[in-house]
Amino acid sequence: MSEATFAETLAAHGLALLKAKADCLQVNVGSLCNLSCGHCHLEARPGRTEVMDRATMDEVLALARRAPFASVDVTGGAPELNPDIAHLLLGLGPCAPRRIFRTNLLALEGRDDLLGLLADGGWGIGASLPAVNAAQVEGVRGAGVFQRSLEMLRVLNARGYGQGPGQGGRLELHLVSNPGGAFLPPAQGPATRAFRQALGRQGIAFDSLFVFANVPLGRFRSWLERSGNLEAYLGLLRQRFNPEVVCGLMCRSICSVGWDGRVYDCDFNQAAGLPCLTAEGETLHVRDGHGPEQGAAILVGEHCFACTAGSGFT
């Protein structure tokens, strides 16, 4: 007997995944990256050519000005490597009260210009750091990455990030951790305490930690297949399906724009090639001038089980 699909699992619990008000504009500026992390669902790496151009950025800015969002979230790849990133950040800055810039930390090395722009613009930082153990971090991201990540966190702290309210307002520093393999992450509370203790010993402060399950797409899925872990991992995600997190899933409230301007319901659907649809079933492009429609159905796939496992991806 075949396993229930995600859609069937939702239906069995009397649930439907429908778009709520899209109050977060997430902009993926491309899959070009300085790292090739083992858990990357987008297969970002050096040499990728899918990079958002300035014309598409202007369409994003037009949307952001027309339909105000509560938050904007710039991600990649490594967004630092987009040659027009400053143009996007300067334009987006006034469009939302909350602004988050995602970084793998290493791509910020030597980018004082960009750091200054982020700090001056009140952009929060969402920094990925899989673990506080060198072997675990470097197993995911490559040799030598751990100490360099810590060093960049110290640089961010020195700039006022993660230090609580200061002159000119609070500069938020959030860490994002994914497990280093085919297992689920620890609960956020204990993981935060462990990170705070370990990084505190290194003189590093941060505001909060978010722990997320690895999504079986892209490079991580290839590794699951090669290592013989795919079936067991998918089984684990299904087994831990938690219907209570469905209504708070982030895909319900995000307008996720891909490097070429296509609109998705989340970054994972972007990787899976599942577009955001209007109520009439049409795909959406940022140049259409409006975000996802409230009440529209969200396309789902097997990967969605990663966001509903345990405490979920909200």
Binding site: A135, Q136, F183, P186
Partner: protein, 109 residues
């Protein structure tokens, strides 16, 4: 037939089929033991991993290797836990040598 089949781990609950009351009490106790208390769930999982090695239980090693990872432990911590089990197991063997010595002292000139 394999004596140890990884898929059998998921059938642990079947042990209650012919003695449900005892099994229910055991599983309730088990759940209580592993809940966060004076020790964290992560610390308890590391202890369980060490004991699993000491009692040579492949099901428990499978279960608690995965649990330790999910509770946020790393390979250094888990390996140290197994060494603790090995030290206590080895020490338990060696300390019985005192009984051997007592008998040797009594029986030999």
């Amino acid at each position: 037939m394999d004596y140890y089949n990884p898929l059998d781990l998921a059938k642990f609950g079947d042990i209650g089929k012919n003695a449900p009351e005892a099994a229910n009490k055991f599983f309730a106790y088990y759940g209580e033991v592993f809940a966060e208390g004076a020790l964290t769930e992560r610390e308890k999982a590391l202890i369980a991993l060490a004991v699993a090695h000491a009692v040579h239980c492949p099901y428990c090693i499978d279960a608690y290797t995965n649990t330790c990872l999910e509770k946020g432990s790393n390979a250094d911590e888990m390996t140290e836990a197994v060494h603790v089990a090995a030290a206590i197991s080895g020490g338990a063997t060696l300390v019985h040598g005192v009984q051997m010595r007592n008998i040797l002292d009594k029986k030999t000139l």
